[in-house]
């Protein structure tokens, strides 16, 4: 049992945390949100320079072979800065599909461009009218002889409006399958929106979109098998991001309690607020524990992994809500203004709960598996 980072991991943590603190303050973020992209290409290039865009990819693909703990470190730091750049969309989600399913040739074609920050990928999987966070699609892929024709509509595609390439899930006779689709292909229509958390989202319509055979990732019917581990890993990453956002929210709130004066004293001297702040601290530490559990669970047997990941996501769903709401409340009116960081952290924490299965979804999965602890434990 060991909860310490090794020397390389410590260095990674210092580097990323410093990068976020020094180059991505709240004003920079606000400015990025107002650009046409809605995020900062400069900041993203900074992540590329540090090698973070290559982090989870295998060394033979030009990556660094980083695991769960490395990803936790990076996501927590990005969470502290509330970074809206397409790291999660491109590196974690789409990159995860490439790592778990793509051919050597596909990886050789795409991974170096992702690592350099030159190519943005987005996973187009969610659809209207299907259960949330399900491994299913109504979008279809029909064989044409030398390729496939895709028809359907995808929603909540993170960073869809900036994507050069989509990974689209679609049904084939063999089951759910994954395809690489150029954003510029005929029949692709992208309608971009601003997410309430600042992260751009898009609806992606596919009307008779033709792709070649080489666009298929893995073989037909492998979609579920590829997406399952990707979603587990991505959920662990979101949990870590949430811990970063919670930690930042907590620190900002404690500072505010010490400086804000009312009735002639710092409001942090009021016991009603002190006890609630301590509850926030407890929620933060419980969440941090679960983020570590999730990060260390990625390589264990799939059944226990999903229990651990669901427990972690359920925990941060609750803790994120408590910390976000309490931070806003304790700040008073300033907490609900757009010009103050805490409200944005609250919104990001709300979005994180909604993504990849919310607290109720993960509790339901735990019920199905008869709990967090396996029968053996």
């Amino acid at each position: 049992m060991d909860f310490d980072l090794n020397d390389e991991q410590k260095m990674l943590q210092e580097t990323v945390t410093r990068f976020v603190a020094e180059t991505y303050d709240f004003q920079k973020r606000e400015h990025a949100l107002k650009t046409p992209d809605g995020w900062s290409r400069e900041a993203y290039a900074g992540l590329a320079e540090m090698g973070l865009l290559a982090l989870p990819f295998a060394e033979e693909d030009g990556g660094f072979g980083g695991g769960g703990v490395e990803m936790m470190i990076v996501m927590e730091a990005l969470g502290r800065g509330l970074m809206v750049e397409p790291y999660f969309a491109t590196v974690v989600l789409a990159g995860g599909v490439l790592r778990h399913g793509a051919s050597e040739r596909q990886r050789a074609d795409i991974v170096p461009a992702i690592a350099a920050g030159d190519r943005i990928l987005a996973l187009a999987h969610n659809e209207q009218g299907l259960p949330r966070h399900t491994l299913a699609a109504r979008t279809t892929a029909s064989a044409t002889g030398d390729g496939w024709t895709l028809d359907g509509c995808k929603i909540a595609v993170l960073h869809g409006q900036s994507a050069d390439t989509f990974i689209v899930s679609a049904m084939t006779p063999e089951g759910l399958s994954l395809f690489l689709v150029d954003a510029g292909a005929d029949g692709v229509t992208v309608e971009g929106k601003r997410g309430y958390d600042g992260v751009p989202v898009a609806t992606v319509a596919l009307a008779g979109v033709n792709v070649p055979n080489e666009a298929l990732i893995g073989s037909t019917g492998q979609g579920e098998g590829i997406l399952s581990p990707v979603f587990e890993e991505a959920t662990a990453a979101l949990v870590a991001e949430a811990v970063g956002a919670m930690a930042e929210t907590f620190d900002v709130t404690v500072d505010y309690l010490k400086t804000r004066q009312q009735f002639g004293v710092a409001i942090g001297s009021f016991q009603a607020l002190q006890h609630r702040t301590v509850e926030m601290l407890m929620q933060l530490e419980l969440s941090r524990s679960m983020s570590i559990l999730a990060a260390l669970s990625l390589d264990i047997d799939a059944d226990q992994r999903s229990r651990n990941i669901s427990a972690a996501k359920a925990q941060i769903g609750k803790s994120g809500r408590i910390i976000g709401q309490e931070a806003v409340q304790m700040h008073g009116a300033i907490g609900i203004t757009a010009e103050y960081k805490v409200g944005h952290a609250f919104k990001r924490l709300t979005a994180i709960d909604a993504l990849l299965g919310d607290r109720d979804w993960h509790l339901a999965r735990l019920v199905e598996k008869r709990g967090v602890y396996s029968a053996a434990a």
Binding site: L284, E285, S289
Partner: protein, 399 residues
């Protein structure tokens, strides 16, 4: 980073598990499962079995009978004890006065008390709280006035203690008494040991909401205590008390107890679904509640393990440690709520432990509600959860 225990730790776990399997008397195990009330003899018998193995006072210094265990071993030991349904021994002997004597006792006091304390040849009670000094312990008023006469130097005690757990069984009391009123209220408090047979001591029972008699009032009427019964220096008792309340944290969240209760809940879930007590909708709601409570327990368990790992290389104050008492007691209480919900109207009838042990299969039904009621105390004693939050706000957050 890794979660697994080392092979040595796993071997240690097996050793503890196998010892408990052989050594724990079946009648005690049965009582613990059914939440039957343990008698003084039950507790003494078990502690002597542990003591014979060298495991009664494991966190004391080795020279006084402790074990040179790592924080991880301490954690494993406590968890295995709970999972095996083993009683905990007397906390007053093992966790309170023992460590205090080891740290502050004179050679003569150590010689006189330590071995007897480990073996419960002396049964201790704690005289801290008073009617006007609960959370605000330092405002205690029971006086100890120095007097010299033909018999030698004495303190003469007058006043009252309250909530004194198991005082009716106690051979000795350790307590805090006011020897000086002139300074700050934390000054002028003296830590004394007293023989409960001393003339002038009256113990009066307090019945609690679980129908049991564990708590007492203790009155002092010109009780004469020899001065050699001071622990540490006169007037410095507050420092001794702080040491007593803050020393051991490898088991503070009591994860093992909550895990044991969780496994009971899981067994009941299966049984009550099978015998038709729980309808489908109730089963569904219960399953959801259990999933929620397990998430919390897992998070708390990992937090406790982080503290155990940190303590292995020095420890020190950290945010994770500070939450363990508050969240650990909330968790224990939540478990008792759920068992009481499951017992339902069948649980209205009180247990009949004066006459016969609880029925091995249905004892839990009658023990559920009294246990739920009595467990409200865990967020009150030893510094209420509100006091814990005050301390965290001040020391960790600087508020």
């Amino acid at each position: 980073m890794k979660l697994d225990f080392t092979p040595e730790e796993t071997a240690f776990r097996d050793e503890v598990r196998s010892f408990l399997k052989d050594a724990l008397p079946e009648d005690l195990r049965r009582k613990m499962i059914n939440r039957d009330h343990l008698t003084k003899e039950d507790t003494v018998r078990w502690q002597r079995i542990l003591n014979a193995r060298g495991w009664a006072v494991t966190h004391w210094p080795v020279e006084y009978g402790g074990q040179a265990w790592t924080p991880a071993q301490r954690y494993i030991f406590q968890e295995e004890m709970a999972l095996a349904h083993a009683p905990e021994g007397s906390p007053f002997n093992v966790n309170m006065i023992g460590p205090v004597l080891c740290k502050f006792g004179t050679p003569a006091q150590k010689e006189r008390f330590l071995a007897a304390t480990a073996n419960i040849d002396i049964w201790w009670c704690q005289g801290f709280s008073e009617p006007g000094a609960g959370s605000d312990l330092a405002s205690l008023k029971t006086t100890a006035v120095r007097a010299t006469d033909a018999d030698g130097d004495h303190y003469v005690l007058n006043g009252q203690k309250i909530w004194t757990t198991q005082a009716q069984h106690a051979d000795w009391m350790f307590g805090l008494f006011r020897t000086d009123n002139s300074g700050k209220k934390q000054q002028g408090i003296t830590f004394l040991l007293l023989d409960m047979q001393t003339p002038g001591i009256t113990v009066r029972p307090i019945e609690t909401i679980d129908g049991e008699h564990d708590a007492n009032e203790v009155f002092f009427d010109d009780v004469r205590i020899p001065v050699e019964n001071v622990i540490g220096e006169e007037g410095r008792g507050w420092d001794v008390a702080k040491h007593l309340l803050g020393s051991e944290r490898s088991g503070i969240a009591r994860i093992g107890l909550s895990k044991e209760r969780l496994s009971q809940l899981r067994a009941l879930e299966t049984r009550l679904a099978r015998d038709g007590t729980l309808g489908e909708e109730e089963q569904r709601r219960l399953a959801h509640k259990l999933a929620e409570v397990e998430v919390e327990l897992r998070a708390l368990e990992l937090t406790q393990l982080r503290v155990v790992a940190a303590d292995a290389h020095g420890g020190g104050a950290n945010a994770a440690a500070s939450i363990l008492k508050v969240k650990g007691t909330e968790m224990q209480q939540r478990m008792t709520e759920l068992v009481t919900e499951l017992a339902g109207p069948a649980g209205l009838a009180m247990p009949d432990h004066d006459h016969a042990p609880n029925d091995p299969d249905d004892g839990w039904v009658h023990a559920a509600a009294p246990f739920y009621f009595t467990m409200r105390k865990v967020s009150i004693f030893g510094g209420s959860n509100e006091v814990q939050k005050n301390i965290i706000a001040k020391t960790m957050l600087g508020l």
